[in-house]
């Protein structure tokens, strides 16, 4: 039996593999060193690579990401941690205006090979300012690659691709998945950015999900199977590049699309995907397209309330059932 690893451990493993290969890879962030990160996703890095490659910073998100950019354009491959993805708002200028634009606006003179890693998402009762799924902020900005793995193996493989990428990558690690387990991938495992994965084949409806919503979609698919509805589940894995062709291919078979999104409905990635499908895949559709997404509210603290906001498998089942009957 293959070795098993948690999603949490996969983060440190993925970074460590790249730090071993390439001395240009360095890490910076708050409490990432001795403490091994608030989510223990950088455990062991300081010990193995020393304080010259694993840097603890002050609480200065702009300086962290801005310095990562400066290092990236001068020959390093920095991996910056922003502790919670909500805090991307504190350095948003770098993500929105600097990092994704500098290559273009200098006519290709500089390259920005960096990764900004961040703990994303809700479901843990952390409240409105520590629970958001913020991938969609990044989706509004051309020039950022956006990765959001759902399994430990993908964490390792996509980190490898992200760190080796000459383009900036925002890497969303889902807090709700940190304790989940999966096989340890082989050495030099790479998952190319921009390739969605069909994680369950099915003929009746296509469920497209990301990160924490992949297990939710799979659970829904299992439930639907009991009712005789055969759902295909696609793990998008990246928002940019967005693997639209994989989705269209699936729709050729199923003719029905449901997106499963942790983020609020307004401005969610599912909307962009659906808009491409409603254009290029219009002829394939035999039923309305449905987006199962979070309510358009801040994340509440109490479980009883948070459960009302973030989609669960039964919400997905209900949505699909209605479509199947269309």
């Amino acid at each position: 039996m293959a070795d098993v690893i948690t999603y949490r451990e996969a983060v440190a493993e993925g970074i460590a593999r790249e730090m071993r290969r390439d001395p240009a890879v360095v890490c910076l962030g708050e409490d990432i060193g001795e403490a091994g990160g608030v989510f223990k996703t950088t455990v062991g890095l300081l010990k193995e690579f020393g304080p010259e490659r694993v840097w603890d910073t002050p609480i200065s998100e702009q300086a962290i990401v801005g310095a990562a950019m400066g290092a990236a354009i001068t020959g390093m491959r920095p991996v910056a941690e922003i502790m919670f993805s909500d805090f991307l708002a504190c350095c948003w200028d770098y993500l929105a205006n600097e990092i994704p634009k500098v290559r273009y606006m200098t006519g290709g003179q500089v390259t920005v090979p960096l990764v900004v890693r961040t703990a994303n998402g809700g479901g843990l009762g952390f409240g409105a300012q520590h629970s958001q799924a913020t991938e969609n902020w990044a989706l509004t900005v051309p020039g950022l690659k956006i990765a959001a793995p759902s399994t430990p193996a993908d964490v390792v493989g996509m980190l490898a691709a992200a760190i080796r990428s000459d383009d900036p990558v925002v890497f969303f690690e889902h807090k709700g998945l940190l304790a989940t387990k999966g096989p340890l991938p082989p050495p030099d495992h790479i998952v190319e950015l921009g390739r969605a994965a069909v994680v369950r084949e099915g003929a009746d409806v296509t469920l497209v999900a990301l990160a924490s919503m992949v297990p939710v979609a799979l659970e829904a698919a299992a439930g639907l199977a009991q009712e005789g509805i055969d759902a295909e589940v696609i793990d998008l894995r990246c928002l940019v590049p967005l693997d639209v062709s994989r989705v269209l291919t699936s729709l050729r078979r199923t003719s029905r699309l449901v997106t499963v999104e942790e983020n609020p409905y307004q401005g969610g990635w599912g909307a962009t995907l659906v808009s491409v499908v409603a254009d290029e895949g219009f002829g394939l559709l035999e039923a309305p397209v449905r987006r199962v997404a979070a309510q358009c509210v801040p994340l509440p603290f109490a479980d009883a309330l948070e459960d009302q906001v973030i989609p669960a498998a039964d919400t997905v089942v209900t949505a699909v059932r209605a479509l199947a009957a269309y």
């Binding site: 001795e34 603890d56 002050p58 009762g125 952390f126 409240g127 309510q295 358009c296 009883a304 309330l305």
Partner: protein, 325 residues
């Protein structure tokens, strides 16, 4: 300070300490979800400062804000009910430990993005000036917050506009698990920065409720007189780890020891004794606090969970959450 006043402050501190202890226990019992950042050890700052403020002044705090909510009149029951996700919680279970707020007494919120509330306090002070009310705004924040951009912008704006706002840094030596000294260019992260804004900066023993009270009172008078903001850096120490998940093993035993010996409650008891208050009187106050908290725990436990429909209220001022027609 007179003995009666100090005794009242002591009792408030005891109430906070016991509430924090209860929060910790409830957490271990699985009755508090999410995370909590306990302020045990830092009570004197909230209580001493609050006692120097007017009832209509504004307070802004951080995710480590239980003590500030309580110092501004939130009851242990309201706080614990919030932590336990009850409908009777301070924020009706929508905020949680990190966002305790009691707007009705001017406690305008606990904010969980480090440094974010400093500009808000500046704005509240500006508002007070515009309305001519003589109110003051106070922002409480950690040592770690002194290295974030919002700190700089807020202090400069407050100084330029000479606003009635106080910046009170609770320097507990650590951000989460990292010593503030390791990531800050000056020894006094807050006070040493005050000259950058041409305003007074002062260090005070944050565990001495009388000293905190005196300093805040002095700066508050100054600010109300129109002489502008000030920075107060209160030295203190947290008794628990950073948050619920943190055993705080990164702190040297000797350091912890030393600070536990410099406990704000003990210090206040000592001062009470000096003022001739017999130990039984202090103990009685502590006992009253214990009883209040015990009863608060019971009441919070008995309170109902929030109505699930509450998830879709309170986005807009009209009460709802509709984003489309």
């Amino acid at each position: 300070m007179e003995a009666t006043e100090l005794l009242a402050l002591y009792e408030q501190m005891a109430l906070i300490r016991r509430t924090e202890k209860a929060a910790h226990d409830l957490f271990l019992q699985g009755l508090v979800k999410g995370t909590t950042h306990l302020a045990a050890g830092q009570e004197a700052i909230a209580v001493g400062a609050s006692a120097a403020l007017r009832a209509d002044d504004y307070v802004f705090a951080t995710y480590r804000g239980h003590h500030h909510a309580m110092a501004r009149g939130a009851t242990p029951e309201e706080c614990l009910a919030e932590l336990m996700s009850r409908a009777t919680g301070l924020c009706r279970a929508k905020g949680g430990s990190m966002h305790l707020t009691k707007a009705s007494t001017g406690m305008l919120g606990s904010y969980a993005i480090v440094g974010s509330h400093l500009p808000m306090a500046v704005g509240a002070a500006w508002s007070a000036r515009l309305r001519g009310t003589g109110q003051l705004a106070v922002a409480f924040f950690g040592d770690g917050a002194t290295n974030i951009g919002a700190f700089h912008e807020a202090l400069n704006l407050a100084a330029v506009w000479k606003l009635p706002v106080l910046f009170v840094c609770e320097n507990n030596l650590y951000m989460e698990y990292t010593r503030i000294a390791d990531v800050t260019a000056v020894p006094r992260p807050a006070a040493d920065r005050a000259p950058s804004y041409g305003i007074p900066g002062e260090v005070v023993d944050g565990n001495d409720v009388v000293a905190v009270h005196e300093a805040v009172d002095r700066f508050a008078r100054r600010a109300r007189a129109g002489d502008g903001p000030a920075v107060l850096e209160a030295e203190t120490y947290r008794h628990f780890g950073h948050s619920r998940a943190d055993p705080a093993t990164y702190r040297p035993a000797e350091e912890v020891e030393r600070w536990l010996r410099h406990d704000p409650l003990d210090l206040a008891r000592g001062r009470l004794a000096e003022l001739g208050v017999p130990p039984e009187t202090s103990t009685a106050a502590d006992e009253r606090a214990r009883a209040v908290v015990e009863q608060a725990v019971a009441a919070a436990k008995a309170a109902p969970p929030p109505d699930p429909r509450e998830a879709l209220t309170d986005v807009w001022a009209e009460g709802g959450a509709a984003w489309r027609t």
